[in-house]
Structure formats: structure tokens, C-alpha cells
């Protein structure tokens, strides 16, 4: 067996780690562990100079295993694997200890955090000794892209990819394209016509030679992996089309909150309490009228309906404040004499041109009234015959501290946005994760906001979180750019951490075949052993823990690697107890 020569690098991450973990002491102590040739601490190990130190040490000291203790492996494992490749080592001779996200950032006691760092690094040092070289496997990328959802995000992404000469399959559940934007009149803050923006996009998609469009269509499941996905498109008329593609963009959008359950607002009971989307239709048709055909003299707009309230959704739906101001401005133009009441909780006018739009609106004789959206919702009731209006809104107005009654002939509820009812089915079909609110989770909230944890699957638009049009378009085009980059490269390296069977140990019990979720294992009747198809295997390791003889090895997560990690953790724990 080759001699293990381990290099250990402990990152300060500026002060992110070093404030809470005594990195210098840890580096000194780790140097005493068996097989550790070098143990160093450095300000930013992930920086170019940091990586150069590792490369230089590998060459000078003949290191063959590397441990970096820094941030989460979800952040920089790939970075450091590439460093090893640069130095001529197999990338899997590397292990990371997470002493930032799971140590320095979550603890307040420096002594305890330092002890924890030692345990995690000792575990990594133990583990890396058992690491084996794995050959990378690269797969060719099918240049076609599959886009789910024909709203502004899906259309934008489709055109971006198709214009570069690559094939796009675009599927849309409904019979029309354009999504919510197709239902909008004007857009905030510059009052551009939504129709004038979306119609040319739809026309171009319809006539584009590289886009194959499937309306009234859905998918049940997507099989395969980055570069080589396949699926069947089911159309409502019963037609089935099998398609193959290399990447996927999920742009399924979101839906509006149903305010029927908010008793105070009487939606569904009071005829002239309408949702923002119902009002948008009125604007699109150019007629603002109450249910019995009258011109409303008093119009109230209520914000945060279904948003920022723990009974409904705790999050902010992001677009409603500005849409409310847009309505107030449009009403002011259409009905110059109407009383307009904007009943808001906090005015969130972030973004380019939006605060200016708010300032402009405040000069147009719109009355702004503030309420507590968390604990004290306004109450809408029918007015009495002598009130000279149809409804009254009772508000505990926060700025004056007084309870006031506002007359209204029409009330517009600024309904929040929520995930679509079939969000979970789509997530399962493509193998991506959802947050507690059923929006899809991006790979990294800051640094990778369009990719998902499943390689080759991207998200764009409202399905990730409520967002306005420019953000949706930006995300869609970013996803398109990412996909075009992989297509341009032509191939991509895939994980090789699959399972394999040691035929000498396999007793032929076939337990592994029963537990495998991918039918990746079959039985060789002649040899009486199980056989893993490494293309189908996704490396979950469930077969490994079911195997009674230890014949199945889960590459890079072998029994020995994990057991040695446990020993490393406990070794430090015993030392601590002895010291105490």
C-alpha cells in the first residue's frame, strides 16, 4: 500500500472562521496526526495564491491526499478538486471539513467551536486516507433544451436559445402563451403596455424554426441526467410525443392568492370587492365600473392581501405595492374626480424608477392610509342607505392612531402570489427541491440563483419566488446563457460516485435490487451475483447499507471512509475528556 502523505489547509475566510475558531492552534495540532506531512492556516485558501500554496506543497512534499477546512463542500469542493487536478493528483484524493457554515457561523463559544473544528478536521484526515482515485466520466450534451412554461420567462429563455441556433421544446399547460403578463394592461413604473411587450415575443416563438411548441401539454416524469434527458409530452388531445434533450428550464410561474378565506374583506360576498387581477381585466377592457354598471366615486386599494401575515403567507409578494400605485395612477387618469384610498402596510417601492414612481403618485391626490397587516386587518362592510357610498372600510390607521371609516364603491384587494398547486409534481418529475412555501430552491441563494441541485435543471421566473417582469426575464436569460455555455462545451463531467459490486463477496440475495430506486441493479443468473449499471446509478448508497455482506461499495462513500470519519470525531472527543 502506498504511503499516505496528507496536506491539511485551514482557512481563515478573512475573519469569518478565524474570529470563532483558533485556526493557528488547530493547524499546529492537526500536524501531529498520523500521515499529516504539512498543516497550514491561510487567510483565503480558495483564492489563487491559496490554491497555489497547495499545488506547490503537493509537488515539493510529494503529498497524495489533501484536506481543506473552510466553508461548506457545497461551496468549494469542486474548486479544490480542480486544484488537485492542476497539481497532477486525482480530484477524489480530496476531502473538505465544513468549519464555517456548520461551525464558526453557528456557535458563540470560541473554545467549543475550536474543539468542533478539530474533530471535523480529524475526521476528514482519517477519511481522506481511504479515498480512492476515481476516473472522471464525461458525457456528451444533447443540444436541445426542454422548457416548461410559456410565460414571459419561458418565452424569453426559449428565444435566447433558439436564436443561437439550438433546438427548444417549449411546453405550456394551457392553450395560450404569455402567462400572467398576457393579462396585464400597463406595467410599472414606466407604464409600458404589457401587450406590446408580450405579443411580439409570442409571435416570434410561434414562427421560430428552432422552437417546437406544445400547447395544452404536460409531462409526468423526466428521465436521465445532464446532457441526456428524455421524457414524453402528453397533450390534452391524447397525443404522446417522446423527446430527448440535454437541459431543462422550469418556468412554471405562480398563481394568485384566493382571498375568500379572509373574513374581514368579504370577498365573494360583497360584489364590488375584487382582486387586483380582476381589476387588471377591467383596465385591459378600458372600463372601470361596479357590478351594477355605475362609475365608482370612491375606490380603495388594500395591500398585503395574503402576504406578510402568518395566517396566510409570511413572505412579501414583491410586486403588489408597485402594482397598487400603478392602479392608483391609472384610476386617477380614467376617473379624475374619484376619491382614491391606498390602504397599505409598508410601501415597498424598491427597484429602478420605483421610489420615484411612489413620489409622483403621492402628488396625485391619492390618500395613503397605513394599517397593521399582521394583527389588525381593515374590515369591509356594506354601507347604510344614508352613507352615499356602497361600502365602508373600518381601519385602525397607524399614523394617526385613530379608527376611521373610509367610503368605498369598489375595493381592490392586492392579492399575493403563491406557488402553483402542481409545484410538487413538477419538482418530483425533474428531481429538484422546494422551500416551505413550495417555491423551487436555487443551488445557491447568492452565487447560483438559476441552477438547481440537479445538474442540467434550471429555474426561472415566478416558480422560484414572486418577482417582477425584469427579474423574471433576467433569470430566464441567465438560465439560457448557462445552458448555451454547456452546449458550446459539448460535454460535461458527471459524478462517478456510483455503486459497484465485489463479485467475490456477493451472496446473490438480491436485497440491493429490491432497494434500488432506479432499477440500476440487475442479477447475473449465471454468476449468481448482482450487477450495477453505472449509467443508471445515481449514487444514493441505499444498496450499500442494505447489503448484508459488504459486497456493494458506494464509491467515495465507502464503509471504511465513513467509519474512519466516526473514529476521527470520537478520537478528539476522548482527548478532550482526558484533558478535562
Amino acid at each position: 500500500m502506498e504511503e499516505k502523505r496528507i496536506g491539511v489547509y485551514i482557512c481563515w475566510c478573512g475573519t469569518n472562521i478565524s474570529l470563532m475558531v483558533d485556526v493557528e492552534t488547530v493547524a499546529k495540532e492537526m500536524a501531529k496526526l498520523p500521515n499529516v506531512v504539512i498543516s497550514k492556516d491561510y487567510k483565503y485558501v480558495c483564492s489563487d495564491p491559496g490554491q497555489d500554496i497547495i499545488i506547490k506543497d503537493i509537488k515539493e512534499h510529494n503529498l497524495n491526499r489533501i484536506v481543506v477546512a473552510s466553508c461548506s463542500p457545497r461551496m468549494h469542493e469542486l474548486t479544490f478538486r480542480k486544484t488537485l487536478v492542476k497539481a497532477g493528483l486525482n480530484p477524489y484524493y480530496f476531502e473538505m471539513a465544513n468549519i464555517r457554515e456548520q461551525d464558526s457561523w453557528v456557535h458563540t463559544d470560541r473554545v467549543e467551536a475550536t474543539k468542533k473544528a478539530k474533530a471535523l478536521i480529524a475526521a476528514a484526515i482519517n477519511r481522506v486516507s481511504f479515498h480512492e482515485a476515481l476516473d472522471s466520466r464525461s458525457v456528451e450534451i444533447n443540444p436541445a433544451t426542454f422548457i416548461i412554461g410559456g410565460g414571459i420567462s419561458g418565452l424569453s429563455a426559449a428565444l435566447e436559445i433558439a436564436d443561437s441556433g439550438k433546438k427548444v421544446f417549449l411546453i405550456e399547460r394551457s392553450g395560450r402563451m404569455g402567462g400572467h403578463v398576457a393579462d396585464f394592461d400597463l406595467t410599472f413604473p414606466y407604464m409600458y403596455s404589457a401587450q406590446q411587450m408580450i405579443t411580439p415575443l409570442i409571435q416570434r416563438v410561434k414562427s421560430h424554426q428552432n422552437i417546437e411548441l406544445f400547447l395544452n401539454s404536460e409531462i409526468k416524469e423526466i428521465f436521465g441526467y445532464i446532457g441526456n434527458f428524455e421524457s414524453t409530452i402528453h397533450s390534452k388531445d391524447g397525443k404522446e410525443t417522446a423527446v430527448k434533450f440535454g437541459n431543462v428550464i422550469i418556468a412554471t410561474g405562480l398563481k394568485t392568492f384566493d382571498p375568500s378565506n379572509i373574513e374581514n374583506y368579504g370577498y365573494g360576498k360583497l360584489p364590488d370587492v375584487i382582486t387586483s387581477f380582476e381589476f387588471e381585466k377591467m383596465l385591459l377592457n378600458g372600463i372601470i365600473k361596479t357590478k351594477d354598471g355605475k362609475e365608482p366615486k370612491n375606490i380603495a386599494i388594500i395591500h398585503c392581501v395574503g402576504s406578510r401575515n402568518k395566517n396566510y403567507h409570511e413572505y412579501c409578494s414583491r410586486t403588489c405595492c408597485m402594482t397598487a400605485l400603478k392602479y392608483a395612477n391609472q384610476i386617477r387618469c380614467e376617473l379624475p374626480k374619484a376619491n382614491i384610498f391606498d390602504i397599505y402596510a409598508d410601501m415597498r417601492s424598491f427597484g429602478k424608477g420605483c421610489e420615484e414612481f411612489y413620489t409622483l403618485s403621492s402628488r396625485r391626490n391619492i390618500k395613503f392610509l397605513m394599517f397593521d397587516q399582521e394583527n389588525d386587518l381593515p374590515k369591509i362592510v356594506s354601507a347604510n342607505s344614508g352613507d352615499n357610498c356602497d361600502m365602508l372600510i373600518e381601519i385602525n390607521e397607524k399614523l394617526t392612531g385613530k379608527t376611521i371609516e373610509v367610503p368605498a364603491d369598489m375595493v381592490i384587494l392586492m392579492v399575493g402570489m403563491e406557488a402553483r398547486e402542481n409545484a410538487k409534481e413538477i419538482a418530483h418529475a425533474v428531481g429538484i427541491s422546494m422551500c416551505g412555501n413550495s417555491f423551487y430552491i436555487e443551488r445557491h441563494p447568492k452565487l447560483d440563483p438559476v441552477a438547481t441541485t440537479t445538474n442540467g435543471v434550471y429555474i426561472a421566473g415566478g416558480c422560484q419566488a414572486p418577482k417582477e417582469i425584469p427579474d423574471s426575464v433576467a433569470q430566464a436569460k441567465a438560465a439560457a446563457a448557462r445552458i448555451l455555455a454547456t452546449i458550446a462545451k459539448g460535454s460535461v463531467e458527471v459524478e462517478v460516485t456510483t455503486a459497484c459490486v465485489n463479485e467475490d463477496f456477493c451472496c446473490g440475495c438480491q436485497t440491493c435490487i429490491k432497494v434500488c430506486p432506479y432499477t440500476a441493479i440487475s442479477f447475473d443468473a449465471e454468476k449468481k451475483v448482482s450487477v450495477v449499471n453505472e449509467v443508471l446509478c445515481k449514487g444514493c448508497g441505499t444498496c450499500g447499507s442494505g447489503c448484508p455482506t459488504g459486497a456493494i461499495k458506494c464509491k467515495h462513500f465507502t464503509d471504511m471512509q465513513i467509519l474512519s470519519q466516526i473514529e476521527g470525531i470520537m478520537k478528539i472527543s476522548h482527548l478532550e475528556l482526558q484533558e478535562a
Partner: protein
């Protein structure tokens, strides 16, 4: 001062480890006794890993996976659940209270819940005191 236990945790890469990372990026504080081992799926938790941790003297073992129905590998968490119930019975037969082993579902967005779970489990393990196996080990040496 109360006993400071050592807890070995197995977290699946896709939900629970990501949730634990989120607790970090959100700077949510929790008890420092936990030592996390990352695995791809809770279905990878071989019963040997739990027994090895206890044999080495861990005071508690925590396993976290994706919520039922949300497993990145479809159903690994269900396999884990079955093994967990068997393991709890088994360790009891060896004289180890079943509460030293716990399985919980933590999604990628549940950083706060992960922090709460760690605090709660640390406290309950601290109440159980030094692991029975560690006590025997110390008597023997």
C-alpha cells in the same frame, strides 16, 4: 455545569446538510456538540455507522433526511426510517436508551428548525448523561 455530550450526526446532502448550511448562512446559533458527517442520502446510513458511533463512545446519534415524499432519490428516507425503528429496538437490547438515537426530517429551507432540533437533542442527550458504553470503557481502562 451540565454534561457536554458528543453527538455524531448523519445528514443527507440534498435536504438536511443544505438546511444545516442555511442555518450557517443565516447565522442562527445552536449548541456546539454536534459533529456532522455528510452522506448523499439518509438511505446510506448503514446500521453499522450508528453502532460504530455508539461503540466509539458517542452520547447521541442524529440522522436527518428529506421529508417523506421529498427524497432526492425518491425513497431512501423510507428505507432509513425502517432501519431506524429496528435500530432503536436493537440498541435498547444492548442497554442503551433508545433516545440516544434520533431520526428527523429537515428540508433544505429549514435552517431554523435544524438549529432548534440540535439544541433540543443536545439537551435531551445531556440529561441522559455520559454514554453507557463510555462509562464501561472508562471503567475498563
Amino acid at each position: 455545569m451540565s454534561y457536554k455530550p458528543t453527538i455524531v450526526a448523519f445528514l443527507c446532502n440534498w435536504c438536511s446538510y443544505t438546511g444545516a448550511d442555511l442555518a450557517g448562512t443565516s447565522r442562527i446559533k445552536y449548541a456546539p456538540n454536534i459533529r456532522v458527517i455528510r452522506i448523499m442520502c439518509s438511505g446510506r446510513v448503514d446500521p453499522t455507522f450508528v453502532l460504530k458511533s455508539l461503540r466509539e463512545g458517542a452520547d447521541g446519534v442524529l440522522i436527518c433526511g428529506c421529508h417523506p415524499g421529498d427524497c432526492h432519490y425518491h425513497e431512501g428516507n423510507y428505507k432509513c426510517l425502517r432501519r431506524y425503528h429496528l435500530l432503536q429496538k436493537y440498541i435498547q437490547q444492548m442497554g442503551i436508551p433508545k433516545d440516544r438515537l434520533r431520526l428527523e426530517w429537515i428540508s433544505a429551507s429549514e435552517g431554523k428548525q435544524f438549529a432548534q432540533l440540535v439544541d433540543e437533542f443536545t439537551e435531551s442527550v445531556a440529561k441522559l448523561g455520559k454514554s453507557e458504553i463510555r462509562q464501561v470503557m472508562e471503567t475498563l481502562t
